[in-house]
Symmetry: C4
Subunit: 218 residues, 4 copies
């Protein structure tokens, strides 16, 4: 093997291991969400089990929103990594910063589930923590991409400048839109969560770029 | 490397990462089931610990059924992926839709464990949620395969048309059979769970296709 | 690539995915054990926190035993897979049968932790379930190896007949020795757990065979 | 393939599987930390939910410290493995010894969260267990590296003697510094945790060595 081949091999193995670790964290965080779904106990049953489960619908809404958000983040993280050929220490720590908030998601989910129908201020606080977590995730995600793409120092050299700017533009709306969800939470927690769910759907469509090199290098 | 080799390499890496993420989710969901097994507390012991554990047999039955179902789904998911050479965004989200219900399995398992011996309506509700979850999994699984195999656009070109139809036929009974389990739950939760367990065994045998290319291209 | 190369490639990928799934299950089961360690609550503190933690020593002993057993099982599973070149459906299900008991380990661990210092019959039941689980693991492990090695149909062709018999001999003592631990639990739960811990150490040394092909094909 | 190529291939696959298992354990342990974050229940609310969450700040501090420590340990474990070309049985068990303490981290984190604001002796005990766990992790980490690097028998032959000594020097401060954190816990739990967090930041910068072979073999 030539020296360049060796570098490419080492870089690909390194990048692969960071991807695998991140995938593990995404997979575990998404699966732990189910622990936030509580079986109604006998004591809480003021009617049938069916009625008790239906009264819990906000828990299922929060579960679905968090599941969709982590899934879409994973797909986009995966797309981002398909552009990356090397990792360095600051990148590893920025990635860790993103994972910190990803692993945190089950907590605000649980908080919303518990306080969704509580009195005004408590429900508002829960909604603010929920949407605020997503603001932090959007910040961490944009930081990671900006760091990797600046001067293209960690990117696959085949990715064009124009492509990089296009991706940057696609990720940009995350922060302001999640900030709107934070403001919405002051008025209606339901509307705030609905916006977060809508954004997961939005990023599912805009964030998923074509991955085939043929499309990029026509 | 030729351009075609590069594509094949990228596609294989992509597909591999989706498989790895899915495997992670299957592995975590199957292992979290153990958290539904509760150690009987002193207060509940109206006799010996042995008797208390034996009284919990429905919990162990539900655990075994969920374990077997997730394991068989994993084996079949694995077989399905051995036919697939490329992934695209809709495929990623259909796969995510399947994983949503897979990660959800510990909740109905816990629900059945809690309400198995409760009064009629509650036990029935638990049984309906349990078997209903499996209907949704069967729907998601069939959707994923139909999408991947339509026009064979994501499949390995070596898989024959006839083979594709044969696989489609093998997966098809899942939806009607799990619907029967839903109807059964209205009469007997035990019978409904027993049917779900029997179906895991059924798919263990019919779903596991030969994987060696030699067998398909004689 | 020749046809034989393609087969070897497909087989290696398949075997790798089964290893990865199993590794995931082992890794999660070993990490979930920590959830059996309970923080002593204020109510239980009849003295200092230090004293409360020291009174919990059986929980730490059970934790250590289960951790060591799963770790050693993982190392040996890993060694077994280094001999295997192909997987088929019965092998996948025998492997799933082994994983069923591996994921179950946190439950008997929790049971022993709870009832270790209870009255005679309850402690005995807990000890029987704990050591009985290890008997089932040993049975599943031996079944998996016997199936893979019979006629060497799933093994690397470079593994000699003599080597196969030697490995079979090394795994064999597991079942009788864990049965002794079951019998011991009737008299002393401590002695039974101590034997299980000793066996983890025993298999750590005897089960870990050299992995370098050079040693096998001199 | 030549015989040497086969060895290199087998060794790389083996090493890769140990890395993957370890990554799995790190990923799960880091994600399970979120379960230590408890949603304040209605009963505990002597004011608003916001105030209840703010009163819980020590839980978030302990969460952040444990997250940062596991992340940095993972990055360094990853860097260590980039130097390693072979694994043997003692290495597997030393690695298992390290993972034992890594999986244990959620327990002292939970202990500190519960007893941070308790009376003197209980808070002190919690702080001692927390920092003491990190001493054991540092010991296990240094043992693993010393074993692998002694006579360079498991290392990549391209790593120079000087490089090995440099790495050994960089890891060395861990044990004495965490021992200082243990002593600090006798006086102030906050100061002790703050030192642990500072050390995670310290190792983030010093422990992350360049990974590109070009830098080592100029």
């Amino acid at each position: 093997m030539t020296d360049t081949d060796t570098h490419a091999h080492v870089d690909e193995k390194e990048t692969g291991r960071v991807e695998a670790f991140s995938d593990g964290v995404f997979a575990i965080a998404i699966t732990l969400l189910v622990l936030d779904l509580k079986v109604p106990r006998d004591a809480e049953l003021k009617g049938s089990l069916a009625a008790a489960l239906l009264r819990q619908w906000p828990i299922f809404l929060a579960y679905l929103t968090s599941f969709a958000t982590i899934l879409v983040m994973w797909v986009n993280h995966h797309v981002m990594f398909s552009r990356i050929r090397r990792v360095d220490s600051p990148f590893l720590f920025l990635n860790g910063f993103l994972l910190l908030f990803v692993t945190f998601v089950p907590f605000p989910t649980s908080l919303v589930a518990e306080y969704f129908r509580a009195s005004g201020p408590s429900a508002r606080t829960a909604g603010l923590v929920f949407s605020g977590t997503y603001v932090l995730i959007a910040v961490a995600y944009n930081l990671l991409w900006r760091y990797a793409s600046t001067g293209k120092h960690l990117l696959d050299p085949h990715v064009s400048e124009e492509r990089v700017r296009e991706i940057t533009r696609k990720y940009a709306p995350g922060i302001p839109l999640y900030l709107i969800a934070v403001v919405l939470a002051l008025f209606s927690v339901t509307a705030s969560i609905a916006l977060c769910l809508a954004m997961a759907v939005f990023f599912a469509f805009t964030g998923s770029l074509p991955r085939r090199p043929s499309i990029e290098n026509p």
